[in-house]
Amino acid sequence: MNRTLLLFAFVAVLFLGTGMLQSWNSALGILNMALISAIMALGVNMQWGYAGLFNVGVMGFVALGGLAVVLTSAPPVPGAFAAGGWGVLGALVLGAATIAAAIQVWRRLPKGAVRTLALLAVLVVGFFAFRTVFDPAVAAIEAINPALFGNIGGLGLPVLLAWPAGGLLAAAAAWAIGKTALGLRSDYLAIATLGIAEIIIAVMKNEDWLARGVKNMISLPRPVPYEVDLQRSAAFVDWAQTWGFDPMTASAIVVKLCYAGLFGLVLVAIVALTELALNSPWGRMMRAIRDNEVAAEAMGKNVTRRHLQIFVLGAAVIGIAGAMMTTLDSQLTPGTYQPLRFTFLIWVMVIVGGSGSNWGAVLGGFLIWWLWVMVEPIGLTLIGTVTAGMADGSWLKTHLQDSAAHMRLLTMGLILLLVLRFSPRGLIPGR
């Protein structure tokens, strides 16, 4: 426990140091993403640390959380639903029905050429039926004021509702993925989830009717006041000045503190729930299954079901974090989702923090996110020192200065390898 406290104190010092040496604004900025990262790491830790499920599709669930924000809380697009909403919904139902029919054909018919042909027929007919309904509906939606909208629009609900919605959307996707892929061996599951994440991003980039694709959704509603509004409010300016703050800086910090408060609440709630769950009979069963699947199966535990359960739960947590992130950014930009940043970095957090340990995941989230942000300036300083003696404008100096930005990945990789080698159970080992 002492070690845990010490490590958290160390991370706190990092953030406080950033605040004092750099600026409180940037320290809080890092803290907010660190809180979100910690929640993502918690989700991954549930899947990996509790159940040994190797999910490298984190990015996909993060993105689905972001999509939920658009669908829940973006303002409705007038006429969009009437134009093609039913068509799209109908097409999606048709698609689902096709897959269900295909599964039934596969299960009901005896093995042989007839089954294969029937399956192909169902799939081909279903596909073209889907496209016939889907394409005109999409064209209708995308025709509505494409410069501004061209998408189906949101429900215009309060953005805080989007967070659980993000969890639900990610959970639903995880259920479908889990049903097909969880039976696979661990490295196959990894490759499968990696692929699914790419597909989710591809869908979000290309289906403009959904969330405008790479044209991005901007100005999404926020749960906290806008800086400009604060600066315009006489009461706020007075308050800031009585404490001797510059109103501009104060507004930025207050907004970030509001976010930090909200994110902190979610983090505390999730940590509390996961800790309770881990120490409950359910948690003991999960650990038993992780440690020895065969024995647990022999004892009558339904391993597949439990795996599906934890996979869906973990994905929901990641989805919530994804929704929070999109809320923080106030925009959804599918082009910025990169597996290195949203999948593998989260994995570094979990491994460094300590797999199987919730506190480890939280610590890893804070520490690694801080490093991820700070490695760049630190690298620049370092390169600056190294190249100080070199002639200005020399090829090597310019190259080194330009390359300092790429130190991040190298550092993350080295940290991951060092932890795996010398402290394979992480900074705060789980049980």
């Binding site: 490295d187 490759i191 190298l410």
Partner: protein, 336 residues
């Protein structure tokens, strides 16, 4: 005549690109499958190994170009390729010594090795970005086309042209040479056979006096050669960008798994299956169909099953189907 035009359009837009892409995937998948067969883990760093090898090749190409050395009508990168392979082999052997060997001695679980390879992936990606940056680099020189569409039309009098880029021809020829050499090595040489024996039954290989460290080292060298060749061919054909090779990881893994992980012949078959599926599903068939059906039947739409951006989805769908219905792949792979 119209059937001929349809055939030429098909060759030009589907078959030739698919063949070149398939050859690149097959070479990549061969590397993945060899590592899996001998070291028994899925190497997520393979894409970035490709990127590293390609980067070294590009640097050497530049040096050769500035020294005025070229390969005539062929791209200079072909002369630089052996240097890229040597540097990559040194890198992966060093990585094995510094990183993987520790876990091998411990007999660590495959999943741990996969996570370790993620760390290696980060480091390699960082090195590549550090050295060559993230800009798009085109390094193909020499003749651009073997046959241009215009030449083909003039030659045959057909409406459709068939263009074959030099890089496509080189890709296919190189891939064939590399594959033949690899199979000769695996099936005819003592070292190659010892690798197959090790992959088949590690304990018995040890009992027969096969030196595991030597087998592992040879495997890494082969993987480096295959990765660099695949990366350079892909880079010549398309272009080089530090992170495109990471994105190639998915179709490469799909190819290796579809063929059966651990099976070299499967990796080749898988590469072409994945490549041709991607190309056929994302190709707009309007042109070909217009030639084949009577004029008033001509399709209005593009007759494209899926937009090009969904090619991942295609590799992935094949992957899932094979995993669900044929878990060991088309050619029986290992299921460690």
């Amino acid at each position: 005549m119209d059937i001929l035009n349809a055939l030429v359009a098909f060759l030009n837009f589907v078959f030739v690109p698919g063949l070149a892409y398939g050859a690149q995937l097959a070479l990549g998948a061969l590397g993945v499958t060899l590592i899996y067969g001998i070291l028994r883990f899925s190497n997520f760093a393979h894409g970035d190994t490709m990127a590293f090898g390609t980067m070294v090749t590009i640097l050497v190409t530049w040096a050769l170009q500035s020294a005025g050395i070229g390969a005539g009508p062929l791209p200079t990168a072909l002369i630089a390729l052996p240097f890229g392979i040597a540097a990559t082999a040194a890198l992966v052997l060093g990585t094995d010594r510094a990183v993987y060997r520790f876990y091998r001695k411990q007999k660590a679980a495959p999943t741990i090795l996969v996570i370790v390879s993620l760390g290696v992936m980060f480091v390699m990606n960082g090195i590549v970005r550090f050295i060559i940056g993230v800009e798009e680099i085109s390094f193909a020189d020499g003749e651009r086309f073997l046959v241009t569409a215009g030449e083909f039309r003039a030659m045959t009098g057909l409406q459709e042209g068939l263009a074959i880029r030099t890089t496509q021809a080189i890709t296919v020829v190189t891939a064939i040479v590399v594959m033949v050499a690899l199979f000769w090595f695996l099936n005819r040489t003592r070292t190659g056979k010892s690798m197959r024996a090790f992959s088949d039954n590690e304990d018995l290989a040890l009992l027969s006096g096969i030196n595991p460290e030597r087998v592992v080292a040879v495997t890494w060298i082969l993987a480096a050669a295959l990765a660099t060749t695949a990366g350079v061919l892909y880079g010549l054909d398309k272009s080089f960008k530090a992170f495109t090779f990471f994105q190639l990881l998915l179709p490469i893994f799909a190819a290796a798994i579809v063929g059966g992980l651990g099976s070299p012949i499967g990796a080749i078959a898988g590469g072409f299956v994945v490549a041709f599926s991607e190309v056929t599903v994302t190709y707009a068939w309007k042109k070909v169909l217009t030639y084949l059906v009577p004029a008033d039947w001509a399709p209005d739409g593009l007759v494209q099953l899926m937009s090009t951006d969904y090619k991942f989805a295609v590799s992935f769908a094949i992957l899932i189907l094979v995993l669900l219905f044929m878990p060991t792949g088309l050619f029986k792979g290992k299921s460690v």
